[in-house]
Assembly symmetry: C2
Homo-oligomer: 123 residues x 2
């Protein structure tokens, strides 16, 4: 089982790469057959190709990320974080609660993001 | 699928009954074969008898609860909340991130609480 420190490090890397639009680095945090469901209820995507396409679609958006709260248990983590999108004349924020599971190397085996359009706030 | 409003109402009832130590009311929020895992990694408890024993063990502790953030997706919710324990000469706080799934009547089918002893703060 990965350590809580290793899991936390992966989550921080994920949020940093997300802010940077560093799609390849994000994909490298996932296991080969990882799944993502973002937001909850959306189609579940599986594997690096599908995951790459998901993040590539948003990589050019100007954005920032911030980790607010994280709880680690076993090989899982739940964390509240902020995604601030800067569209030039408007800024919006979504604050999902995401749940990830990890393999022994602290790579992400699954990611599920709890948020809905009604959670988007205009800053 | 239950509405987001119905899910949120169940979560609020859960936290209120938890603060009150109202074990029977808590149990009534769960489906008959519901499971709880609290904290993550602990044995999974199933069914009303096991769930009642779990909450009865803490019902007499003086405590307060507060919902901080909730995100609802489909028939699931993730929420950050505060549990403040008042032992007379000391007060401690745990702020778990809990994940629940719900049946069509917004009863809790499963509850998993992300927290660990290292998250306990002395106030």
């Amino acid at each position: 089982m990965p350590s809580a420190a290793a899991i936390t490090q992966t989550v921080n890397s994920y949020l940093r790469h997300l802010a940077e639009g560093a799609t390849d680095q994000i994909v490298s945090l996932y296991t080969a057959d990882a799944t993502i469901e973002d937001p909850i209820g959306a189609d579940v995507l599986r594997g690096h190709d599908a995951i790459r396409a998901f993040y590539a679609a948003i990589q050019d958006a100007k954005k920032d990320t911030e980790l607010a709260e994280i709880r680690v248990g076993g090989n899982e983590a739940a964390f509240l974080w902020h995604l601030t999108l800067d569209a030039g004349d408007s800024r919006t924020r979504i604050s999902p609660i995401s749940v990830m599971t990890f393999d022994d190397d602290a790579k992400v085996a699954s990611m599920r993001a709890f948020w809905s359009p009604s959670d988007v706030r205009v800053l």
